[in-house]
């Protein structure tokens, strides 16, 4: 299996792209080959659409995320499954099922820690989660939201949930918590649309301003619901600042298919690829690689999926590469923007007349 030492001895954003690729490419190629050997479905796909000759990261085949809905894709024996993660994700229907063995689950935790620590430091912080505890009911069968909450919980102590079982904001509980940790930095975590719908909007509706000036907020999970409300990253940040007082806000981008190796936003509102993952933007017409600044379909690569062939996936998101190694924040490697889901254009043809 892979030797991960070099990846853990260094900061997640320490390598410039060339250095990174000299480690990343051999590592992901080894991972790719192990999936070929251990996942018969992946082997069939790869033999049909893959390249014989893998010379660079761009040469690896990628599978669409929807495939995890239609098939149980495993590179381990079923008896080794420790956790199953599900996501309703794209366009409804049956959920994606991601099967983790203990090795993959541990890697996810370890890498998430490395990335998040590089933002918030290694000290645990008092933590407020903008969600309801009920999301975590079934500990063996995680929704993407549950997995996210559980994953980020390891960065906090004295963890409190800001919403009750019915997703209503619990102002009393929040105030009590704030009093207790008055002079400490507080870590706040939540899913983007929950923070918006159930926290910020409710604070606004009840005309309550919180004083969380000393806190930092990490949020992720997609902008679809906010886009419907015409809220972009900057206006979201302004609303958060106005109603909760939080000025340090970090968005992250990640898919349940690649839990752990998330992409985090920097102070300049750019998302960054760490040394554990990579991102490629592809042109819809032929999947060739986009130029810097050109919008394309997002392909994600990660060194973490060992128990299932999710190391190179094609998402249903659109984004663009902003630059490489040159973000003013100082983090090396690729930095980019995500614009959200591809729109679901209706297909023509003699389809159903049933209209809802």
């Amino acid at each position: 299996m892979l030797n991960f030492d070099v990846f853990f001895e260094n900061s997640p954003f320490a390598f410039n792209q060339m250095q990174k690729e000299s480690y990343f490419f051999p590592a992901i190629k080894t991972l790719h080959q192990s999936h070929l050997q251990n996942c018969p479905e992946f082997e069939k796909i790869s033999s049909l659409i893959g390249n014989e000759d893998l010379r660079q990261v761009e040469d690896l085949p990628f599978i669409p995320v929807r495939l995890f809905k239609d098939f149980d894709l495993l590179s381990i024996d079923k008896s080794e499954i420790r956790k199953t993660m599900t996501s309703s994700g794209t366009s409804g229907g049956s959920p994606s099922k991601i099967y983790l063995n203990s090795e993959t689950a541990q890697l996810q935790t370890k890498v998430l820690t490395k990335i998040v620590n590089s933002y918030i430091g290694t000290k645990r912080l008092p933590m407020l989660i903008i969600d309801s505890k009920s999301v975590l009911k079934d500990r063996n069968n995680f929704s993407a939201r549950g997995a996210g909450i559980l994953g980020f919980s390891m960065f906090g102590y004295d963890i409190h949930y800001a919403l009750d079982d019915d997703m209503n904001i619990d102002i009393e509980q929040i105030n009590e918590f704030l009093q207790k940790h008055e002079h400490e930095q507080i870590l706040i975590f939540g899913f983007t649309f929950v923070v918006f719908e159930n926290f910020i909007k409710k604070l606004k509706a009840s005309n309550t301003k919180l004083k969380l000036n000393n806190s930092l907020l990490i949020h992720g999970g997609g902008w679809k619901k906010l886009a419907e409300n015409a809220i972009d990253n900057s206006s979201f940040k302004a609303l958060i600042k106005e109603w909760s007082g939080i000025s340090r806000v970090f968005n992250y981008y990640g898919l349940v298919e690649q839990t752990g190796s998330i992409f985090m936003e920097c102070e300049n509102e750019n998302l960054h690829a760490s040394i554990y993952s990579d991102i490629i933007f592809r042109k819809p017409e032929d999947f060739s690689v986009c130029e810097i600044g050109q919008e394309g379909i997002v392909q994600l690569l990660s060194l973490l999926p060992h128990s299932y062939p999710g190391h190179s996936i094609l998402t249903e998101d659109i984004g663009k590469l902003v630059g490489v190694d040159t973000c003013p924040c100082g983090r090396k490697g690729k930095y980019f923007k995500i614009f959200g889901r591809i729109k679901n254009a209706e297909i023509r043809g003699c389809s159903d007349t049933i209209q809802k």
Binding site: I45, P64, T353, I354
Partner: protein, 402 residues
């Protein structure tokens, strides 16, 4: 009598009070031919029609010369009259289909209630407006009184309301819709026609491509494009599978490449390839790699996927792609296809073969599928004979006299 909430029904043309006075007429009666001719002229003159080739196609179909020509095939119908009231349920995403369904039934001599899609299409607005204008004229009063176009949200009660009154019901739109509509009963003597999910494929002789001139090749590729990409390759008569019929053992690679290259060029130029379709195609390709024995896949670009099957499969109706995703298989004899022909198969388009050869293959093998055999380029041409029904004769009754 079923009770319904009439406020849920939006009458686009006509009103519900007409329902009880509707009457049938003789097939191809002169009023109808004149009405269609005027409708054709009106649509061709309307500026907005020019943006919609499907409206223009419909307008041309309705013109007097075409209808007169068609009527000649029914010259013997002197003792026929329409069945009565025909209730049409038309598909949500083929905008002009409602108009063809209406006109076929009108020509057979029927009065009509047509449920049109709730979704707004400009094509529907253009055609309805033209009909509305003509119905204001006294000479079309009779047709107007026998025509009702409605929109309503999905409702079993309203389906039942119209169903109990109809002498025939026509449902377009696939198996699940048909099953759902059939929960509403029709009177015992009434006729139920379901245009169900179908599957279509092409048979091409590669040697005929070898002898094509550049011009003929482009014509062929354009025809093929119109049969497929024009409707996202999702019409029931769009082919999903290309059967290459070769009399010799050569693999005909050069001829096939020549054909696909021409198709690709046109698709690249004309087809609007949505990103979501690109992902749909890759997802299908990965599923196919897992589920089917595939020899090779060629992706010239994401505009065109060619999936070469290792051998003639046991069944073909599940081999169905959209937006330029084609399966290919080689055969030496048409008879190799016989086990694959099931009732679901509708259209065979052909190039380089003659239609008698394919017709005889169906007849001599006693097959239960294939309702149309048409040249490449005519897959989407709808007509009075559709899905195996002669619609004039099906939608009218014969009065026996001695």
């Amino acid at each position: 009598m079923t009770s319904i909430n009439e406020t849920q029904i939006a009458c686009m043309i006509g009103n519900l009070s007409q329902l009880d006075t509707m009457r049938p007429n003789k097939p191809f009666n002169e009023d109808v031919i004149l009405f269609l001719s005027e409708l054709s002229n009106a649509l061709i003159k309307t500026k907005e029609s020019r943006n919609f080739p499907d409206v223009i196609t419909f307008a041309y179909w309705c013109r007097k010369s075409n209808i007169t020509k068609l009527s000649k095939e029914y010259i013997h119908v002197k003792n026929r009259i329409g069945l009565g009231l025909v209730f049409h349920i038309t598909p949500a995403n083929v905008p002009v289909n409602f108009a063809f369904s209406f006109v076929f039934s009108l020509l057979a001599g029927n009065s009509n209630v047509i449920r049109i899609p709730s979704k707004n299409y400009q094509q529907i607005d253009i055609i309805c407006e033209a009909i509305r204008q003509l119905f204001r004229e006294d000479r079309f009063k009779n047709i107007a009184q026998n025509t009702l176009l409605v929109k309503y949200p999905h409702s079993k009660e309203i389906n039942s309301f119209f169903s109990t009154k109809c002498n025939a019901r026509i449902v377009w739109g696939g198996d699940s819709t048909i099953n759902q509509i059939r929960e509403s009963k029709i009177p015992a003597r009434s006729l139920d026609i379901g245009f169900a999910d179908r599957y279509s494929f092409s048979i091409i002789d590669p040697s005929s491509i070898k002898t094509c001139t550049e011009k003929e090749l482009i014509r062929l590729a354009e025809n093929f494009y119109n049969d497929t990409y024009l409707m996202d390759q999702n019409a029931c008569s769009s082919p999903h599978l290309i059967v290459w019929k070769k009399s010799d053992k050569a693999d005909a690679k050069a001829e096939k490449d020549k054909f696909w290259k021409a198709v690709h060029q046109i698709a690249q130029k004309k087809y609007e390839l949505d990103s979501i379709r690109v992902i749909d195609k890759l997802t299908l390709l990965c599923s196919d790699a897992i589920n089917h024995p595939i020899n090779q896949v060629t992706m010239t670009s994401n505009y065109l996927h060619q999936i070469k099957l290792a051998s003639v499969p046991n069944t073909i109706v599940n081999l169905s792609g959209n937006s330029g995703y084609f399966y290919e298989v080689d055969i030496a004899e048409l008879n190799e296809l016989a086990p694959l022909i099931e009732t679901k198969i509708q259209t065979i388009t052909y190039f380089g073969l003659n239609k008698e050869e394919i017709l005889n293959f169906i007849l001599n093998n006693n097959l239960i599928g294939v309702d149309r055999i048409v040249p490449v380029g005519k897959a989407l041409e709808i007509g009075l004979t559709w899905d195996g029904y002669d619609l004039i004769n099906t939608l009218s009754r014969v009065i026996a006299t001695e």
